[in-house]
């Protein structure tokens, strides 16, 4: 994995050598060396020094996680270095400060290393004029179709036009025309007229995705981005090129024309499609999710995520979502839907939940030790698994969760398709190995020792506990999100939340505990599992606990050794490493 920095514990690093430079007159101290896109330490560049000085240098082709191309020329800056006399020795001003000689030519900040004493100027008239010049060049052949462009609102051409654009074009020549609406691959459409030939997509797919699929054909102003005719751009990482495309050239078929980006609410979350736990942003509007995008986390997913995980969100809005609380005494309730078509909780929902959870807790409390099995899901959060584990301990239940395996790759996709297998293991709810208790549970149902089964988030009929076995139970309590054979057979059905509908944490395959926030409301009567488990536990054990996810997390970390010392607040956006 070239782009991920290894985060394994290392010997104490040597002291970082620092260099002092001035950015627009302000002195900053920056490391002499900075990791490049592969994590290799290389001389720090001007653009990195400017970032340290909180000075933004506009750019198109530069991307910190890609090899430097230096082709857009937007990041040109002026600079000066310490003047040298004819004897090649530094020259000093009368006041003893080093004399700085301004370089006769500008330099691209993205590729030019800094030197001690260097002065970088990003706000001179010459720099402004160069940026204006580059932007004008980029726009002369651009179609200027912002009103119908999907990138509008998150386009770097638009963004820099605010600072460096001109209100009227002086270009009076015919524009160069290039292919439009090109079906580049199963998930991407390309508009070559909007393309500014920054080559970010080419570098990404060649160097990161290891699929040398894109290139530039023709020459000069006719240069055109393309895939090889007859081949399509189709690897599991193609949509990252849409993210890094600074303009509207590459658009996602899934997202294009669905929603104007400025209407979207962004929520920090974690992709739950495998054990890697790529950090993501969920974009939603009015309780509807429109897209996932990767969020940078150097130790986990760098700036990327796979297409499989990115597009795996449609199920959240499925029509047949479980949205009704169901108990054996239940009459079939009348479904109520809101103006958005999603189910609304009935007015008495809270009371109903209270009554049902009380009933269940009563049953579990009375259950004979060894007669209860709890099957959790490694798709549940650490907090939920912790609470379930506590319930299990309280009632003396055998527990496990179901493994979920697919094919992994060498980049991000983990063969373990559960987002929280590590959490399930560390908390102790999973069998060792995961799933090894399932056959035992099946056997004990068969011989009548297990009479009550609690299932969270798994269709156990697909894991060796078939409908026939479930039919023998006195009681089947199920919480899930989508209907399946297990939910169909449930005596109690507790509708739960998809993870974008709640808060919580997952522990990824490397042991990184990462939190995610709530993006949208759950449908109908569905409730976050941690909430209902918390109530259940309160009823079962009579212990009061934390009423908030923050408190719950902190309570968990106090009890689970692997999470010792962590707090919700300290997790931050990037998470923390469990003591594994």
């Amino acid at each position: 994995m070239p782009m991920l920095q290894k985060t394994e514990p290392k010997a104490a690093p040597p002291p970082v050598e620092k260099i002092k430079v001035k950015v627009n007159g302000c002195e900053v101290e920056v490391p002499k060396l900075t990791p490049d896109w592969q994590g290799k330490l290389v001389p720090t560049t001007m653009i990195q020094a400017c970032a340290a000085a909180k000075v933004d240098v506009p750019h198109y082709c530069y991307h910190p996680k890609l090899p430097v191309a230096g082709n857009c020329r937007m990041c040109l800056v002026e600079y000066g270095t310490q003047a040298l006399g004819p004897d090649r020795k530094p020259v000093f001003n009368p006041d003893g400060t080093p004399k700085i000689a301004k370089a006769p030519r500008p330099a691209i900040a993205c590729a030019t290393p800094i030197a001690p004493g260097m002065e970088i100027y990003t706000d001179t008239p010459a720099v402004k004029q160069m940026r204006q010049g580059v932007l004008e060049f980029l726009l002369i052949n651009h179609p200027l179709d912002c009103p119908i462009c999907d990138q509008a609102g998150e386009c770097k051409l638009q963004e820099y036009s605010v600072d460096y654009g001109q209100s009227a074009s002086r270009f009076v020549e015919p524009k160069v025309h290039k292919p439009k609406r090109v079906d580049l691959g199963p998930r991407i459409v390309l508009d070559d007229e909007r393309c500014i030939l920054c080559t970010r997509c080419i570098r990404f797919t060649r160097e990161i995705a290891n699929d040398d699929a894109l290139g530039i054909v023709n020459r000069g102003s006719y240069n055109t981005l393309t895939a090889y005719p007859g081949k399509t751009f189709d690897n599991n990482y193609t949509l990252n090129t849409v993210d890094i495309c600074p303009v509207g050239a590459l658009t996602s078929k899934d997202f294009r024309f669905q929603m104007r980006v400025w209407f979207l609410k962004e929520t920090k979350s974690i992709c739950a499609s495998c054990a890697t736990g790529c950090n993501i942003i969920i974009s939603s509007r009015e309780e509807k999710i429109y897209r996932y995008e990767p969020r940078e986390n150097p130790g986990v997913n760098s700036c990327w995520m796979c297409d499989y995980g990115r597009l795996n969100y449609k199920w959240i809005a499925r029509e047949d979502r479980l949205a009704q609380l169901r108990s054996p005494k239940d009459q079939v309730g009348v479904r109520q839907t809101g103006p958005d078509g999603r189910e609304r909780p009935p007015a008495n929902s809270q009371a109903k939940w209270g009554a049902v959870l009380k009933e269940i807790s009563g049953i579990l409390e009375r259950a004979e030790s060894g007669s209860v099995a709890i099957i959790a899901s490694a798709r549940q959060t650490n907090e939920e698994l912790y609470l379930l584990h506590k319930v299990a301990q309280r009632v003396g239940a055998i527990t496990d969760s179901a493994p979920r395996l697919g094919e992994g790759d060498s980049l991000l996709l983990n063969a373990d398709r559960n987002p929280n297998s590590a959490g399930a293991r560390l908390i102790g709810i999973a069998g060792e190995p995961m799933g090894s208790n399932l056959a035992r549970i099946a056997a004990r149902i068969r011989d009548g020792r297990i009479k009550t089964v609690v299932v969270f988030g798994e269709d156990v009929t697909r894991h060796g506990i078939g409908a026939d076995l479930l039919g023998r139970l006195d009681l089947l309590i199920v919480s899930d999100i989508l209907p399946n054979e297990t939910t169909r057979l449930a005596h109690y059905l507790l509708p739960g939340c998809a993870y974008p509908e709640k808060r919580g944490t997952f522990t990824n395959a490397k042991g990184q505990v990462q939190k995610f926030m709530k993006a949208v409301e759950p449908p109908g009567e569905a409730r976050p599992e941690w909430e209902l488990l918390h109530e259940l536990l309160f009823d079962v054990a009579g212990q009061d606990g934390a009423r908030s996810i923050e408190g719950l997390f902190n309570q968990m970390t106090a009890e689970v050794p692997a999470f010792k010392g962590m707090t919700w607040a300290a997790l931050g956006d990037l998470g923390a490493r469990a003591n594994t």
């Binding site: 609406r181 090109v182 079906d183 040398d212 895939a227």
Partner: protein, 179 residues
């Protein structure tokens, strides 16, 4: 907003169904590859394309894919080259390819008139700079950029043959010799 229809990736490459690399050419290509360090086969790309074009007269889609495969590359890597370097032809050209130098010294020496002369003689459009082939497929006439013989303007090439100080009379003579 309407998602609209999408179009296939444009493909200017042409097919050559009968494409087959004879042993001698295969051997030549194999020899060319040895000119570069063993792990730098890609370096041979231009030379291999020259060899293929010398044999077939142009570079077809099949030739692009054969070359890529031969050098352990993706077809896009070769496609990028064929479209960048103008000497590579993406379709068959005339038996005699007349390349008239267009650049300044030759222009001062009458190359525009020479180009026009050829076009008029062969029934082609003198205003078109790019390659044009006569209907019988015998001649292709085009303007090319500086051929580095500015002192003997106007100059031209007919296939690999170089001609300098080309008067209209000399042009007619050259045409006459193209059988």
């Amino acid at each position: 907003m309407n998602a609209g229809s999408t179009e296939r990736i444009p493909n200017p490459l042409q097919h050559q169904p009968q494409f087959a690399v004879p042993g001698a050419l295969e051997a030549e290509v194999g020899e060319l590859i040895t000119h570069y360090p063993p792990d730098k086969k890609r370096s041979a790309s231009l030379m291999v394309l020259h060899a293929i074009q010398e044999h077939f007269g142009w570079i077809s889609q099949e030739a692009v894919e054969w070359t890529a495969q031969k050098l352990g590359l993706q077809p896009i890597n070769i496609y990028e080259l064929v479209t960048f370097y103008p000497m590579f032809r993406q379709r068959p050209m005339g038996k005699y390819q007349i390349k008239v130098c267009r650049t300044l010294s030759c222009a001062l020496g009458g190359s525009y008139k020479l180009h026009k002369h050829f076009c008029e003689k062969l029934g082609l459009d003198p205003h078109k700079h790019g390659p044009q082939t006569t209907k019988d497929g015998k001649f292709t006439v085009e303007f090319v950029e500086c051929l580095a013989s500015c002192g003997t303007a106007p100059v031209m090439m007919v296939n690999d043959e170089f001609y300098e100080g080309v008067s209209h009379a000399k042009a007619d003579e050259v045409l006459g010799n193209c059988k």
